[in-house]
């Protein structure tokens, strides 16, 4: 939305303020100004000149050689190609050194051998209009040397506001609404918007039929006759439109735009001679009905669109754009001027469906005041007659529907309002503000009855708090002083999963060196398929941001794998983790769970097993995180294929941790074939997934301190030679059993396979520390442990190595 300062000043006096001050008033009390543009800066170098000599170019038929006086000491030679250049003409002149729109700099030049020091400009070259058949002809009394901007009286400032900040204010889609704001803010009188016309007594020839009162609550049509085809608008109209980025077309169209920019109300002039019959119908379009709009595009309509139709066919798309067939043109002398109210959402949907956002639709979709429709007719006629005095209103307007927003009265307590706002603003001051904005107040009781004016009643002001806002913003929010809350603090409840997630993440990052990342909540179908996930088990997006990315992730692992793969080139090893939500479908709607996922990768040559291996590191990490989660006594078991749901995992190289029936953690190496396919060609990659929802639900007992024994422990090294098939966990369990209560710690320190061992065996070497709380252990007790270990090894099909 663009607002011209000059235009505002027609209705309210702002002459004592700079443009910046006006902009600040808007930002602080109405809506934010994005930019203040100074009109005409692109042509500020151009001056009024006079052609003092003019003759034929010796070597070019179409060029003239002139001398121009532009107020400088000397007259300068200028070559000009315009047909209308002639001696004595006052011109718009760009001297050497000046800049023209498009950052085009004028230099001394030679044209076919003749010196040319400057340029005589056409309107198009100065972006004043599209006119380029010749140079601009200025008034003969224009004073040579004066800046063109001054001569044309064009200087102005234009405020640009973000449309989004005005969507809730149907009254601010024209200059007059802004003028009302300034009048209120500055306690000035608001000048009326033109004068009311006296309509002819004769009844309208036109009948209006509105089929749907919701879609079109009010429609007015006015027939106007012109003595002749009016042609172009006068310069002031064109300049006013150009300053606000509207292209001048013809007087009849330009006036519609002018009224719209002033009042916010779109109007449309039909060429009355091109209309069939005398009935105008507002009705839903038929399915497949066609209408060629003003922009020469044939639109295929649907019953959700509203059209204006004459006796024959659709002639306009209601609230969006007129039709080409009934457009005013170079023979129009009789118009039917439409000014109506249309349903905001209907107009928006049609404009959206057809990708045809017009100035009119942008305004109608804000729920305009229906009262504006009649006001716009008055203003149009007033402006037209000021330019073409012979223009005549043929009959009284044909009015159909209700030209007023619903009546609304709101109870309002000024004392409570001041308190809520924290502004010391008295009842009298509040009343003045609201009345200036157009509200009508009954203050005979302490709670006022406030009547909302039609221009604020369509959707904007509906309840007491809306009035509080009016008082607040007019008073100025700078008058509010911050105050701390004084109410007692209620000990806040906490969500356990949040604290848990934070502790675990901190551990993963600080102790294990993982990098926390954030991944998208959605998955590409193709990626899920590559991971082998069951495609039926997803919550799906209806309108994904990207085609083919339609799934809500179950957990963060798929996105972590994707991000990990994109890091391989720079990082031969690394780790990424994310705390994220995952979704599964259910009849009641999506079920949300929370996870900590972690993906870690290392070069392919890294050991597959043991403390140095990727797997070993992640196992340690997982167990460590579960310990941080204070998970008491969970059981860890190898992953088995039957557990399913992990199509990405290596069939056996994985572990899962359970607490009772709860699966709380899973870790596994990614299936090597899949890893290769996911671009981990030279890498091993493994994943960890902790179910935070499940972990957070479990009771976490506090740590119970145990005083360390004062007595020394004995270190006993024992190496077991066992068949390959015996799991390390089983060997460890056997040794723990052998150590019983005396076993203080047990650590695998060597894993050996090869010479000196029975075929198919491997050696697991443990260091056990035995300790008692109340005594120093004897050699006998050490021997007893060794005996039990030997027996256990035998039971497992192996023996203790010597």
């Amino acid at each position: 939305m663009k607002i011209s300062l000059r235009w505002l000043q027609e209705f309210v006096d702002l002459s004592d303020l700079t443009a910046e001050q006006v902009g600040e008033l808007l930002s602080l009390h109405v809506a934010e100004v994005d930019e203040i543009e100074t009109v005409g800066t692109a042509i500020q170098d151009v001056v009024v000149g006079e052609v003092v000599e003019c003759g034929q170019h010796p070597d070019a038929d179409k060029l003239s050689v002139t001398k121009v006086n532009y107020g400088a000491e000397e007259e300068v030679p200028v070559v000009c190609g315009a047909p209308n250049v002639r001696k004595g003409l006052k011109i718009a002149f760009a001297p050497v050194g000046s800049r023209l729109p498009g950052d085009f700099k004028i230099k001394k030049a030679k044209l076919r051998g003749q010196a040319s020091w400057g340029m005589i400009c056409s309107a198009r070259e100065l972006e004043l209009s599209d006119e380029h058949d010749g140079i601009i002809e200025l008034d003969s009394n224009a004073s040579v040397g004066q800046s063109l901007l001054e001569h044309l009286d064009m200087s102005d400032h234009v405020f640009e506001l973000d449309n989004k900040s005005l969507t809730h204010r149907p009254d601010l889609w024209g200059h007059y609404g802004f003028a009302r704001e300034f009048a209120t803010l500055r306690q000035q009188a608001l000048k009326p918007n033109g004068v009311q016309q006296d309509w002819p007594a004769q009844q309208s020839n036109w009948t209006i039929v509105r089929e749907d009162d919701d879609a079109c609550p009010a429609y007015a049509a006015l027939e106007i006759h012109l003595p002749s085809v009016p042609g172009e608008s006068p310069a002031w109209v064109q300049q006013r439109l150009l300053a606000l980025d509207q292209r001048p077309v013809s007087l009849l169209v330009d006036l519609s735009n002018l009224v719209m920019l002033e009042l916010g109300q779109p109007t449309h002039a039909f060429d009355a001679d091109r209309l069939q019959g005398n009935t105008i119908t507002v009705r839903p379009a038929q399915s497949g009905e066609r209408l060629t709009t003003l922009d020469e595009v044939e639109r295929v309509l649907e019953p959700t669109d509203q059209v204006i139709a004459d006796g024959g066919q659709a002639i306009a798309l209601a609230g969006v754009m007129g039709g080409a067939a009934t457009e005013v043109g170079d023979s129009t002398t009789r118009i039917l001027l439409e000014s109506a109210a249309f349903h905001a959402v209907g107009v928006r949907r049609t404009a959206q469906r057809l990708a045809l956002r017009s100035e009119a639709s942008a305004r109608f979709e804000k729920s305009l005041d229906p009262g504006l429709a009649v006001q716009a007719l008055h203003r149009y006629v007033e402006l037209l007659q000021s330019i073409v005095p012979e223009a005549q209103v043929a009959q009284a307007p044909s009015l159909s529907g209700c030209f007023q927003a619903p009546e609304r009265t709101i109870a309002f307590d000024p004392v409570a309002a001041a308190q809520l706002l924290g502004i010391a603003v008295g009842a009298k001051e509040q009343k003045r503000m609201l009345e200036d904005l157009g509200f009508v107040i009954d203050d005979s009781t302490s709670t006022w009855q406030v009547h909302v004016p039609s221009w604020r009643a369509t959707k904007d002001v509906t309840s007491t708090v809306d009035l509080v806002e009016e008082v607040g913003r007019v008073s100025g929010y700078h008058r509010i002083e911050a105050a701390p809350l004084l109410a007692p603090i209620v000990v806040p409840a906490q969500e356990s999963h949040r604290l848990l997630a934070r502790r675990l993440l901190q551990r993963a990052v600080q102790t294990h060196g993982s990098g926390e990342t954030q991944g998208y909540s959605f998955l590409a179908d193709e990626w899920a398929e590559r991971l082998g996930l069951a495609m039926t088990d997803f919550v799906r997006l209806g309108n994904p941001v990207q085609a083919g990315v339609t799934l809500m992730r179950h957990d963060p692992l798929p996105t972590l794998l994707e991000q990990a793969a994109s890091n391989l080139r720079e990082f031969p090893s690394g780790s990424l983790c994310e705390v994220a939500k995952g979704y599964h479908p259910s009849a009641e709607g999506p079920v949300e769970s929370r996870y900590l996922g972690l993906v870690q990768w290392a070069p392919k040559e890294t050991a597959l097993e043991g403390p140095e291996s990727l797997f070993g590191q992640l196992r340690t990490l997982t167990a460590d995180l579960l310990q941080v989660a204070q998970l008491p006594q969970s059981q860890v078991t190898p992953l088995c294929a039957e557990d399913g749901d992990l199509p990405w995992a290596h069939p056996v190289h994985g572990l899962q941790w359970k607490r009772g029936d709860h699966l709380v953690a899973t870790m596994a190496r990614v299936h090597p074939a899949l890893a290769r396919e996911l671009d981990f060609r030279k890498h091993q990659v493994a994943c960890v997934l902790l179910d935070l929802s499940a972990l957070a639900e479990l009771d976490r007992p506090a740590v119970v301190f145990q005083a360390p024994s004062k007595f020394p422990g004995i270190k006993v090294d024992v190496a077991l030679s066992l068949p390959q098939a015996v799991a390390c966990a089983d060997a460890e369990a056997a040794l723990r059993k052998a150590g019983g209560k005396l076993l203080d710690s047990l650590l695998l320190f060597d894993l050996y396979q090869g010479e000196g061992l029975e075929e198919g065996h491997r050696s697991l070497a443990y260091r056990a520390v035995l300790r008692a709380p109340d005594r120093t252990l004897s050699d006998k007790e050490e021997q007893k442990f060794l005996d039990k270990a030997t027996k256990a090894a035998l039971e497992l099909g192996g023996q203790v190595r010597g």
Partner: protein, 345 residues
């Protein structure tokens, strides 16, 4: 035997003297005086000596042993002193040599911003509350006074779930504001709560636009709460974020779930005379907020005639970008370790 002892003494003293370091000296000690050393071996012959000779040889052997021990001790001290002197001289010591690489963990900058703000608000007695990313239309829009025909609900603004997702319409929440209603329903009034989380918009990506980003919502509901309290909460929050007091100003702003609605601008913390961040205006728009709309309170089962409240929002992604001068929002969801590792904690 006498001669042998005398020879052992001479040779022993020479060996001790020639030891170059502690290791050699220890070996010499074992060879001379150890359990199977030369002195022990020699004394095994004592039994064959005449009875009257034995005490004399014993005495002599003790003398030899004492002499050797003394010499060993002296040498040990000498070597230790030399070692200490050499260590202190520092020859060949380079204190600038690096240690082993530390694990380079990283905390995502948006999560750091969330963490810092959560801590800030916890200290002020706010609850930290969470809500689902897949949210019902009722919570994301209806309860927040967003009209049924509001353009924000349309598919070019909101990412909707497929039709068959559940018994009602679900979308990816477009803001953290539904947590206002959820927290109020669950915890009741009075309440102070902040809700950080991921939100989604149907949006094409570029340097400043993302369809997935993070916000934090704040809500206070109590008796007698008004705009001054909101302003105070917002100011203290900015102080927490930027580590110092910033001049702020309130402007009118419009959001359906608050009335009146505001935008809070803060003096640009990055310049004194206008810069790229503030586009030369010296103000940056940081936080929308307002008094909770009575419709929202009613939706959450709170009587608006009894309670009032304020709410504010903060773009966590934006705060993180401002704090660390990140000029392209797409880094946030890139998972690129070159980005992440710049944020160690």
């Amino acid at each position: 035997m006498r001669e042998q002892l005398a020879a052992l003494r001479e040779e022993g003293l020479a060996e001790v003297a020639s030891a170059q370091n502690g290791e050699q000296l220890a070996a010499v000690e074992v060879a001379l005086l150890g359990r199977s050393g030369r002195l022990t071996a020699l004394l095994k012959g004592v039994g064959r000596l005449a009875a009257e000779e034995r005490p004399l040889i014993g005495k002599l052997a003790n003398e030899v042993k004492a002499a050797l021990s003394q010499s060993l001790a002296a040498k040990q001290e000498e070597l230790a002193a030399a070692e200490l002197a050499q260590d202190l001289a520092g020859v060949g010591l380079d204190p600038t040599l690096p240690g082993p690489p530390a694990p380079f963990g990283a905390v995502h900058p948006v999560m750091q911003a969330a963490r810092d703000l959560e801590d800030h608000f916890s200290s002020l007695g706010y609850v930290i509350w969470d809500g689902p990313e897949v949210e019902s239309e009722a919570n994301n829009f209806d309860a927040l006074n967003i009209p049924a025909d509001h353009p924000a609900r349309e598919s070019h603004d909101t990412i909707w779930m497929a039709e068959d997702t559940g018994p009602e319409r679900f979308c990816l929440r477009t803001h953290t504001s539904p947590v206002q209603v959820r927290a109020l329903r669950e915890l009741g009034a009075p309440l102070r709560v902040v809700a950080p989380g991921r939100v989604f918009r149907q949006e094409a990506q570029d340097a400043t636009h993302e369809h997935s980003f993070h916000q934090m919502e704040g809500l206070v509901v109590d008796k007698g709460v008004g705009v001054p309290h909101m302003l105070h909460a917002m100011n203290s929050l900015l102080e927490g974020v930027f580590g110092r007091k910033l001049e702020t100003r309130l402007r009118p702003g419009f959001f359906p779930f608050v009335e009146p609605g505001f935008e809070l601008d803060a003096r640009c913390p990055f310049c004194k005379a206008g810069c790229r961040v503030c586009k030369g205006t010296r103000w940056i728009e940081l936080m929308p907020g307002g008094l909770v709309h009575p419709h929202v309170l009613r939706s959450a089962g709170v009587n608006p005639n009894e309670y009032s409240g304020f709410a504010f929002g903060l773009g966590l992604s934006r705060i993180a970008m401002l704090r660390s001068n990140i000029d392209d929002i797409r880094w946030m969801m890139s998972g690129d370790l070159r980005f992440l590792r710049q944020f160690p904690s």
